[in-house]
């Protein structure tokens, strides 16, 4: 009843090919963005910004990048942590070595460096497929980790190998309060999400999906696998590299290679699987789920224990978190293998018919 398109006629090609053809969708997204920019700062405290919202925004960006590679192009990659690390360290080097380098330029250049590395490690995908490719990309993960530990030039010759940044500013405005950091990440995410949505709707996105579904057939009808796969790696690594730079600069402030370890890669892969492969919306859902679940469990389990009269030790809570995390992953994959995005689109479909059943 509320969600029908009655009366919404498109009179231009432009109107026909918008991202959100239904007016209700446009209104909803507009309201959401307005809430994100104006409403959230009024309601959220510092902890919420620093521990939940900023990681959510940055990891959604990374998950978006990974989704382009794994969900849209079908190339399983377990080396995402490495590309984030490349983005972060490259941006750091640009900031530190070039006086007066603006933050945005450094972050974007970091992303470009990650693109180059991503394409290099994407070359094996032309020959290797499936699970073999997944393990081959682990080579990227471990090699890049080692590089940043061993080659001290990348860490500006610091004795400990740990790097830090401070004094961020964009166009003269200093970025130190959590709210300003949140706005910066939100800005990046909105622009990149818009880019991603347009890419996957366009020609290149269709090439990626063809390669994912049946790469031999795609090659037969004239889609160049080299071009499609390497552009998927390139675009994905760009997104992931920018996310890595933001993660290091805005969220952590000071990091070492262990911040981008294989656990990060697995975490991002979880996000897109739970969120939904091949869906922009899915990356956001998955990121929200994975960011909030450990914190939720951490607060909820002791409270639950107190309710039942059992004090759970810190170690016990940590173990229970792991168990519930694992169990929930399994549960979600059994219940909805296509992820939260599929649940969302099913819900939307129901909404379109509501209050009628069919």
């Amino acid at each position: 009843m509320l969600y029908r398109e009655n009366g919404q006629f498109k009179t231009t090609y432009r109107g026909d090919s918008q991202i959100f053809p239904i007016a209700q969708d446009r209104i909803a997204i507009g309201l959401l963005l307005a809430f994100a920019v104006f409403g959230v700062p009024l309601l959220a405290d510092e902890y919420l910004f620093r521990a939940i919202l900023i990681p959510f925004l940055i990891l959604s960006l990374a998950a978006l990048g990974l989704n382009i590679l794994v969900g849209y192009c079908g190339q399983v990659s377990l080396g995402t942590g490495a590309f984030m690390a490349v983005g972060a360290y490259a941006a750091y080097n640009f900031m530190v070595r070039i006086d007066g380098m603006p933050l945005l330029a450094a972050v974007l250049l970091g992303g470009l460096c990650a693109t180059v590395v991503g394409v290099i490690f994407g070359i094996p995908s032309l020959r290797i497929k499936g699970l073999y490719l997944a393990v081959a990309t682990l080579a990227a993960q471990f090699f890049v980790d080692w590089t940043f530990l061993r080659i001290s030039w990348f860490t500006n010759n610091s004795s400990s190998g740990s790097v830090s940044v401070s004094g961020l500013e964009v166009f003269g405005i200093a970025i130190d309060t959590p709210f300003e950091k949140y706005l910066l990440c939100l800005g990046f995410l909105v622009i990149f999400a818009w880019m991603a949505k347009n890419l996957v709707r366009g020609h290149i996105g269709r090439e990626w999906m063809a390669i994912r579904d049946m790469d031999v057939a795609a090659a037969v009808i004239g889609i160049r696998p080299v071009y499609a796969k390497l552009t998927a790696f390139a675009v994905s690594s760009f997104f992931v590299g920018v996310a890595g730079a933001l993660w290091g600069f805005v969220h952590l402030g000071s990091w070492e290679p262990a911040a981008f370890s294989i656990d990060r890669s697995f975490q991002l892969l979880f996000m897109i699987i739970i969120g939904g492969l091949g869906s922009v919306m899915g990356s956001f859902f998955g990121a929200a789920f994975i960011v909030m679940l450990p914190i939720f469990l951490n607060q909820f389990l002791p409270a639950l224990g107190n309710l039942v009269g059992v004090t759970i030790s810190t170690a016990g809570v940590a173990h229970a978190e792991l168990m519930i995390f694992g169990a929930l992953i399994v549960f979600f994959l059994i219940v909805e293998p296509h992820g939260l995005a599929r649940m969302w689109s099913t819900a939307k479909e129901k909404m379109r018919l509501w209050p009628f059943p069919h």
């Binding site: 004795s159 400990s160 190998g161 740990s162 607060q299 810190t314 219940v335």
Partner: protein
Amino acid sequence: MKLKTLALAAALTVAGSSFAPFAFAQGKVQFFPSLTGRTGPVAPNATPFANGYADYMKLVNLRGGINGVQTLVEECETAYATDRGVECYERLKNKHGGATVFQPLSTGITFALTEKVPADKIPMITSGYGRSDSADGSVFKWNFPLIGHYWVAGDTLLQHIAKTQGGWENMRGKKIAVVYHDSPFGKEVLPIIQERQKMHGFELQLLPVPAPGVEQKAIWLQVRQQRPDFVIMQTWGVMTATAIKEAVATGYPREKMFGTWWSGAEPDLRDIGAAAKGYSAVMMQHGAEPQSAVVKEILDKVHAKGQGTGPKDEVGQVLFMRGVVGAMLAVEGVRAAQERFGKGKVMTGEQARWGYENLNLTQAKLDALGFKGVMRPVSTSCFDHMGSAWARVHTWDGAKFTWTSDWLQADDQIIKPLVKASAERYAAEKKLTKRDPKDCQS
């Protein structure tokens, strides 16, 4: 279908509950957050530390609190991961009236929090870890590597080794292999060792071990090939035990192996037992102290009433004592702050910071607290956030540790310039101004 609605509901609950307000504590308590490593690769070593910390805080409450103010400890599990440590910090820093001091027990988390504590005005105690250059209080106002840092460990260890050889002159031409954790923690010990190498002309063989260090055969085969005269280990967690086991398996004499103070505790050695006999480690002031007065008091007053945080046989062991010492330093700093800002009042982070900067623990005070024979006097100042540079070496005899050296003191002439240079580099990179002497009174 029902399962799917259940799943959607679960997802929404997760979303909703994460925004729930957090509980607030009532009454006046001095809140000491405890970042623990009870799970993950360092669990066997970090768990006794957390237990010792909690037990001493309980003891302080039983003794009457800090001039009447009770302590409150809340733990948050980091599993030695930097981002979890940062999240714990954000969660705990404003709870229960505000955190007094943080002790991250991880060099990675220390580096990350060094950026955040000046803005949040909460001091950080990093006894024996963290940034070695944070001993320079003129640059690092909020960091306190009390009673020692990695460069003190490296220096005193090398002094001990030199003593066994009859002096620094006999070190020329000797070969030392350094097996270290391939991370900022491991690398932090290298500058002092390299500095001493320049001075005394021994050879160095650097052998990094990638975390978590479960496969070290190649490292120890190289040790066997190069036949260094000594091996120094800067490892933490299961890496230490694995290293010693591989040393046994390749036949490297344990008497020639020396660990820094994170590489020589019971969890690392008790499973190896007699085969590890002869392995030594340098300890900042305390080691395993089962006979000390404070341990007896903890056993009597805390464990006897069933209030002990961990198992009883852990009390008095090396890492348990480290937690006790950490807690004692935290509490004494607050007590010192109360002298200035009001006895019997809850201290804010800023006030506690002044306390840590003006810590004056005389031997008499330490003995009264139960640390006789365990600790030597600690005295910090505005520009010296370390407070003391004493260490001793203990050796494993197959079942326990025994002291095998006198008190050693790190050579300030060498360490101070290193600290100063590194701190100045940090200040230049961050465009910080050094503290004014007038600022010391705040």
